[in-house]
């Protein structure tokens, strides 16, 4: 299991416990040793993970073992039917879109997808979408609207991909058009930031009447590294920039950027993906239950008002 530096002592202790357990075989002395180590692990967990700094939380949002969109999709939903392609240029694996059932009811699901192995990471382009990814998302969301299906989006991207092809095929237009399409969807829309909410590429899937955010997710106008390289011409000063950007879930809630923060298991979603999925599933069911009762005009007005009120000026 991949882990972050600050998790190392705990991960090592837990692996020793697992080894002892497999060797114990009813040996009372070893059982006692396990119990002692478990107590230590519990204290260590509190010490290491109970009160994390900004940069540790940013690292958790990008943790190599953090559950991605497809992990939640598999755990929360049934009958997942992925739909491919933008009908114009191609299919972008950095965005997954389709339909799935939540307690038997069909809903539209759209999200960024990162890869875990080196090969998957390349295939998914590290969750950095091209224009065709956003155009696929828009196509499937508008399809959902025609059949009255609610739309649930899952945001997890460092940002839209900055490359030659992306520029040639209209990255800006694709993002802008997706934002506009979401603002106009007549069906319930819930967006959840599950990992990295990286700038315009994140917002392209983020226009909803309810925006949720996992406890250790981030939502930011620019990556801390990008911010540092602009401010100080030194991308290595990302941790300092992260302090300034107020990109944590609690910040986003305070600034009115997200409506609710969904708590994660101690130490982050990767430490218990099943539990993380249960919490997210419960939050989505609760919100969707409420949103379904709104009329279309009420829904459009409320979605508009939600974003209309964001910003601070004198």
């Amino acid at each position: 299991m991949a882990h972050l530096d600050f998790e190392k002592p705990l991960v090592e202790l837990e692996s020793r416990i697992r080894e002892l357990r497999s060797a114990a075989d009813g040996d009372a002395a070893i059982d006692a040793q396990i119990a002692e180590l478990e107590a230590r692990a519990s204290t260590l967990q509190q010490d290491l993970l109970g009160d994390l700094g900004v940069w540790e939380k940013v690292q958790l949002s990008r943790h190599p073992e953090r559950p991605y969109f497809l992990d939640y999709l598999e755990r929360i939903f049934d009958d997942v039917l992925e739909l491919h392609g933008d009908r114009v240029f191609g299919d972008d694996p950095a965005v997954v879109a389709g339909f799935a059932r939540l307690d038997g009811e069909s809903v539209c699901v759209v999200g960024h997808q990162k890869g875990r192995t080196t090969k998957q990471k390349q295939h998914r382009n590290f969750g950095m979408a091209h224009p065709e990814g956003y155009r696929k998302a828009q196509r499937v969301m508008e399809l959902a609207a025609r059949y009255g299906r609610p739309v649930l989006t899952f945001i997890d991207t460092p940002g839209a991909y900055p490359g030659l092809g992306a520029e040639e095929r209209g990255q800006s237009e694709a993002i802008g058009a997706s934002i506009l399409a979401m603002a106009e969807l007549p069906v319930p829309v819930i967006a959840t930031v599950i990992g990295e909410g990286g700038s315009g590429g994140a917002l392209a899937l983020g226009v909803a009447e309810r925006v949720l955010m996992l406890q250790y997710a981030t939502y930011s106008v620019i990556t801390p590294e990008g911010c540092a390289s602009i401010l100080w011409r030194d991308g290595a000063r990302g941790p300092e920039a992260a302090q300034q950007l107020r990109l944590l879930a609690a910040d986003a809630e305070r600034l009115g950027i997200v409506d609710k923060v969904v708590s994660e298991p101690v130490g982050g979603a990767h430490r218990d993906p099943g539990d993380a999925a249960r919490r997210l599933g419960a939050a989505l069911r609760r919100e969707l239950g409420e949103l379904r009762s709104w009329s279309v005009s009420d829904r459009l007005d409320r979605r508009y008002a939600r974003f209309r009120g964001i910003g601070q000026h004198a």
């Binding site: 800006s172 058009a177 506009l180 315009g200 910040d251 950027i257 910003g311 000026h313």
Partner: protein, 279 residues
Amino acid sequence: MDRVSKNPPTVEAAEKKTLGRGVFRRCDNCGETLKAREFTDNLEVCPACGHHFRLSAEGWVEILLDPGSFEEHDATLASADPLGFVDSKPYPERVRASRRKSGVDDAFLAGSGRLLGRPVQLGVFIYRFMGGSMGSVVGEKITRMFERATERGEPAILLSASGGARMQEGALSLMQMAKSVAALGRLRRAGLPFVSVLLNPTTGGVAASFAFLGDVNLAEPRALIGFAGPRVIEQTIRQKLPEGFQRAEFLLEHGMIDRIAPRPEMRATIARALGHLLD
């Protein structure tokens, strides 16, 4: 409160910054030295090579709208410091310095006016104020501009010149993209046109929100337009970008804009587009 400007700035007054002090001026593009007056009379376009130098927001108002018809709105909206952002200096200090230097309160000029007789809502980015970056104030002014156009049944014309979202207001800046685009959605629902003009440069969060969503997208010759800045792309792909990449001509070729309009033709081009959609 809306503020009516009693003395609309002239192109000349607004252009003092870019014109320099002397009687003569050398074109940075072709090297030709001409009378400064010739640049001014030619709307900041080099008379020798046709290079388009930046025209101020006030200058654009002057050349697009009927004389004396401009009435500025929301001029006094001023940014707050929601993040307590400090880089080499605190954000409020940076804003104050930019105000002193630019003579405006933030990076957007909005107002009502007439374009060849037709009432319109016009908005122009003020690039000299923090690179035209979009924070809460700019987002609010653009949103109000679209709302005003919708209420009054007038077309909206927006000239973008911006490096993108304003970093110092964090995700609040990002959200201005959604806020302004949602307001544009309402203008569309009301059946009213939006003409988007992309000036040099239009990148980042401004490009990736309303700038490409015009019913008609126009651009100035050679304007740099793109999602990511050229430096970021070069760092990502680790190769030099081809000549002309992300220039207006490149975007026209790739189907992203409707037309390139040289500055002297911009007003007529906008008017004709509106005419086709409305008359």
